[in-house]
Amino acid sequence: MTDSHLRTLEAETESRTAAIAAAIAGLAGPGDVIALAGDLGSGKSVFARSFIYALGGSGDVPSPTFTLVQMYELTPSNVFHFDLYRLEKPEDAIELDIDDAFHEGISLIEWPARLGAYLPPRRLLITFEFGTNEDARLLHLDAPDAWAGRIQGLEAHV
């Protein structure tokens, strides 16, 4: 059992959420799984889009709600952007090739609870919560050991 390391980042604006995403993108590598939880409109897609741009994505980053996954060929590895909003059974995710994505790529997963037990324990879980004003968000990070050191000095990068 790995320990959980909890911390909360405040994003007063959407561009601040984007900056946090870019900073975390700079810390990510092949095999990382980043779960993005939170209500509709809480900033998950903004985070994912900014993360992908930060790794050099230059094309469209459409919401994958309809196709469930979009893959981006980036450096240091391919990024798989999942949106499991429409997933009914966790088993269905197997046919989205989550195994390959989790091992070789960087996975960004919106609506990760839909994955049930298939969500690896080594995931970095970021839960988005609405803040006090319209654009403000709270990002609650729940990090396993493998991420604890990396997110230590995160504020300094943002």
């Binding site: 897609s45 309809f66 046919e95 989205l96």
Partner: protein, 354 residues
């Protein structure tokens, strides 16, 4: 010419046979659509056909039924068309492999059709319409304005920077506790609603270009609902009406900009065409029709059952390609991403405010 068309790129498993292309008006001989929505509606949820095996378990039966209803033999076909992407790769593979197998066995022309091209050309199946036309393609996965200057010739003028329009409808329905799919539910509730009670934003309206953004509208709807707390039926009706009204205004504004760009680059279009699943929405069709009339243009839209995903649109796009000799080899590889306009400049979408 007779063509069989297969569509498995997303939730629907569909096969259709169409006839046409020899001067006679085209006709749909059969169009069998197995929608998971129908199957799962009693259970208040949809099981998307994300699993290739779900398509796989239906496709043979659906193809057989389409051939049966059309009362035609494989030997009487001139070609077989299949949606080769974009979409869920597992589903696309099932359709493509099925089509290749039929093409190989019966020595038929094989046509890998872009799913979006199917939507784009459907209007030419149901009415006599010349190129070029301005196309508004609105579905669960897309929201684009394109200049269509010929078969295979698409110029993207604008696209959504975040959510697709069908997705915005579905998420609004979800937040209001309405059923799935959300589009028809929102449309139904809006009919009895007061569109003027809630003031919702019109994202991108008045901005240069003709891109879309619906994320901010979704957030505004969420805030309204939160403010109300537990919305009554009347509240829900009014929110749906306000949402739909905002969408209608945005579509008309963006289509207007697109038309300006179109006229500068390509001359006068033959019509404004609206296609894709959201084009089944009667209110939006009405708003677009008013807009088109004000600009002296015809609004052309396929009938609602040909706006949602179906095999006939794939068969028709295949026929359009076949008569231009645009067939594909059996080495065609399914394409999960396949933009209609590969030269379109990317739309950078972070941080668009409502």
């Amino acid at each position: 010419m007779n063509l069989l068309g297969i569509e498995t790129s997303c939730d629907e498993t569909s096969a259709a046979v169409i006839s046409g292309g020899n001067g006679a008006a085209p006709s749909i001989l059969s169009n069998v659509v197995l929608s998971q929505v129908d199957i799962h509606q009693p259970y208040e949820g949809v099981v998307p056909e994300i699993a290739a095996r779900a398509h796989l378990s239906h496709i043979d039966r659906i193809v057989a039924q389409a051939m049966d209803e059309a009362d035609i033999d494989f030997a009487a076909l001139d070609g077989i068309a299949v949606a080769g992407g974009p979409g869920l790769i597992g589903g696309v593979i099932v359709g493509v492999m099925t089509a290749k197998a039929i093409a190989a066995v019966h020595k038929l022309a094989f046509l890998a059709v872009n799913h979006l091209e199917g939507h784009a050309l459907t209007v030419r199946l149901t009415q006599d319409l010349e190129f070029p036309f301005l196309l508004l393609l609105v579905s669960g996965g897309h929201c684009q304005l394109l200049a269509v200057t010929g078969v295979g010739a698409y110029h993207r003028l604008g696209t959504t920077l975040d959510d697709a329009l069908g997705e915005a409808f579905d998420k609004t329905a979800k937040m209001l506790g309405l059923g799935y799919p959300g589009g028809p539910q929102v449309e139904l509730r809006a009919k009895t609603g007061d569109a003027g009670r809630f003031d919702l934003p019109r994202p991108m309206r008045g901005r240069p270009g003709c891109d879309f953004s619906f994320s901010g509208l979704k957030t505004a709807v969420r805030r309204r609902i939160e403010k109300i707390g537990a919305p009554t039926d009347t509240d829900i009706d009014d929110i749906c009406a306000a949402f739909q009204c905002a969408v209608g205004d945005v579509l008309a504004d963006r289509a207007g900009r697109a038309l300006d760009i179109f006229e500068r680059r390509f001359g006068d279009p033959s019509a404004l065409v609206v296609a894709g699943g959201v084009a089944a929405n009667q209110y939006l069709r009405g708003q677009l029709s008013n807009f088109a009339a004000a600009r002296g243009l015809e609004l052309a839209a396929p009938p609602p059952d040909l706006c949602t995903d179906n095999g006939a649109m794939i068969a028709w796009a295949g026929l359009e390609r076949l008569r231009l000799g645009l067939t594909d080899g059996l080495d065609f590889a399914p394409r999960p991403r396949w933009p209609l306009d590969p030269n379109a400049a990317p739309a950078m979408g972070a941080g668009v405010k409502a």
